[in-house]
């Protein structure tokens, strides 16, 4: 398993490297390497690498890793392979707030922060509705997440209908389809502390998450404080997802399917699964971003759209092709 995790890490590293090399123009490896080693040297390549691509690759890696971790944790906690990080209502809440903010003409730099706040507030509301006793009821969580997401999606649809085809509608659609266009260090500085807090909670939750594989009851018998573990996992997943959404808009597929694929490769041990999902999610997102920048340059395809077009058929082939067991 360690070898498989190492291979996954190598592949993710290569994906990050490729993401630095390609884009509107392909820059040779030697020039990118030189620019990386000499950050203060003058020239166009340095501007492209340090000013545009490197921050974007970092953001892509953080978004992908965050969604991968959040998906793996929620799937593990709820023992449900259909769960994705957006179940907590974060994306729908963020999208509704962003749509309303753009429609109201709120200054663009504030929009991601509003999305983050609204996403997190929605997650808190979903958690409050899912609460039973001192813990969380899995069915209530799923029902509350799906219901509130439907409500917020309706708000987004309403806003889009009212705006019709204006520039504001374009800006909202860009958020809904997921994109890293124009993102830089200043965006990362805002989201990083929350993502870091989510990561710390994830790290602290991993041993309990691993024991939860035995089921809630058996986890209790081996000493897991199941209620506390559930709240920590939900808080961690919400923080990571809200940070990711504030950086990239709504990027589907990664939080749902990356943990599936990693589970196939390295097993269900939460300790390896979380690390593997972070690495694979980061690498995958960086690669997708590189593709979105370069396939039809100078036009950027939204990452969410690209991931759905490439990822879903791949996933269906891997898991649902005739003759394959769907364990």
């Amino acid at each position: 398993m360690t070898l498989r995790l190492a291979s996954l890490t190598l592949l993710a590293f290569l994906a990050l490297l490729v993401s630095l090399l390609v884009g509107g123009t392909v820059i040779p490896f030697s020039q990118v390497g030189y620019a990386m080693l000499h950050p203060h040297a003058p020239g166009d390549v340095h501007v492209i690498v340090w000013g545009l691509r490197f921050p974007r690759v970092c953001i892509a890696a953080i978004v992908g890793a965050s969604l991968g971790i959040a998906g793996a944790m929620l799937q593990g906690m709820l023992r449900n392979p259909l769960v994705d990080p957006y179940l907590t209502g974060v994306s729908a809440g963020a999208a509704a707030a962003i749509a309303l903010a753009i429609a109201a003409g709120v200054a663009a730099p504030i929009v991601p922060a509003l999305g983050f706040g609204a996403g997190l507030a929605t997650a808190v509301l979903v958690a409050a509705l899912a609460r039973r006793g001192s813990g969380i009821d899995a069915n209530r969580l799923i029902l509350a997440g799906v219901s509130l997401s439907a409500l917020f999606s309706a708000i987004v649809a309403l806003v889009l209908t009212r705006l019709q085809q204006g520039g504001y509608a374009q800006a909202i659609l860009a958020w809904l389809a997921g994109s890293l266009a124009g993102r830089g260090w200043h965006d990362l500085i805002f989201a990083a502390p929350y993502a870091a807090l989510g990561l710390i909670l994830a790290v602290l939750s991993v041993p309990a998450l691993n024991a939860l594989r035995l089921g809630d009851l058996r986890a209790r018998t081996v000493g897991v404080d199941v209620d506390r573990a559930q709240w920590m996992i939900l808080a961690s997943a919400s923080l990571l997802t809200a940070s990711a959404v504030s950086l990239s808009g709504i990027v589907g597929f990664i939080g749902l399917i990356v943990p599936h694929i990693v589970r196939r490769i390295i097993g269900s041990d939460a300790r390896l699964l979380i690390v593997g999902s972070a690495i694979a999610g980061g690498g995958f997102m960086a690669l997708a971003d590189a593709a979105s920048r370069s396939l039809f340059a100078p036009i950027e395809i939204p990452i969410g759209v690209l991931l759905a077009f490439i990822g879903v058929p791949t996933f269906l082939y891997l898991y649902l092709r005739p003759g394959r067991k769907t364990a």
Binding site: N210, G223, D225
Partner: protein, 261 residues
């Protein structure tokens, strides 16, 4: 080890057991008997700290069980339920290694060498040394029961609670399981197991804790409980006593022997 004083247990709105007084010591194998729905599992859950008593106290090594943290409790009590399904693909070794959770510090992610040795010993104690890498899903019912027992042993708990460990097992495998439990009791652990078969309890247990009519009817040596006539009261049917060829006392409902009216 574990004691109850005037213990009263409730299921929903209904009091199901009241005024339970008993003490179970290390090195004992106690079988919990009683009709369906009498509260055997609830009693086990209460001892495991997963069901709050309505009134009365449960003492674990002299301390009230309510005040013991989940991790501390897991170091002393292993509770093995046979019903829960495992949805994740796990190897036998992974399942058993989870028993080391309460012994880990909050920052410890992985098992250390000592943990590995304890898991090896647990596997050996249930005769499954060669099963470590097998997927749990491929095991038979009897093998799964042994894995759950090994999980409890990996916890290094001194009190083993088992809820119907022989249900779904054939005669030979059930006897192997009970033999294992008795071996654990002889090794110094307290074993408390809900059983359905009175005769299995009579053969393997040191004492029988008999529940019926919403109370503790008896906690005594098997022969004394069988002779007391309290089984009739507990199960609501007349029981016949017989001697097995080995000389051990056996009980059967009288309709099973064809002598009821």
């Amino acid at each position: 080890m574990i004691g109850a004083r005037e213990l009263c247990l409730r299921a929903g709105e209904r009091i199901i057991l009241s005024d339970l007084d008993f003490h179970i010591s290390a090195g004992e194998f106690v079988a919990v008997l009683g009709p369906n729905g009498v509260g055997k599992t609830t009693l086990l859950r209460a001892i495991a700290g997963m069901h709050s008593p309505d009134s009365g106290t449960l003492l674990l090594n002299g301390r009230e069980i309510r005040g013991v943290t989940a991790a501390e409790r897991a170091k002393t009590i292993a509770f093995m339920q046979s019903e829960e399904i495992l949805t994740e693909a796990m190897s036998v070794r992974e399942v058993i290694a989870t028993g080391r959770y309460p012994h880990h510090r909050w920052y410890q992610w992985h098992e250390n060498q000592q943990d590995d040795e304890i898991v090896d010993r647990a596997l050996a104690a249930v005769g499954m040394e060669t099963f470590g890498r097998r997927p749990f899903a491929t095991l038979s019912s009897g093998e799964r029961q042994r894995v759950w027992l090994a999980l409890g042993l990996a916890q290094e708990a001194s009190l083993l609670l088992l809820d119907e460990p022989t249900s779904h097992l054939d005669l030979r495998v059930a006897h192997e399981m009970l033999h294992l439990l008795r071996t654990q009791a002889r090794a110094g652990k307290a074993v408390v197991s809900v059983l359905h078969d009175v005769n299995e309890a009579a053969e393997f247990a040191d004492r029988i804790l008999l529940l019926g009519c919403e109370r503790l009817l008896a906690i005594d040596r098997p022969e004394a409980v069988l002779r007391s006539g309290l089984l009739d009261l507990a199960y609501g049917t007349p029981m016949e006593l017989m001697r097995a060829p080995s000389g051990a006392l056996r009980a059967f409902p009288s309709f099973a022997t064809g002598r009821s009216e």
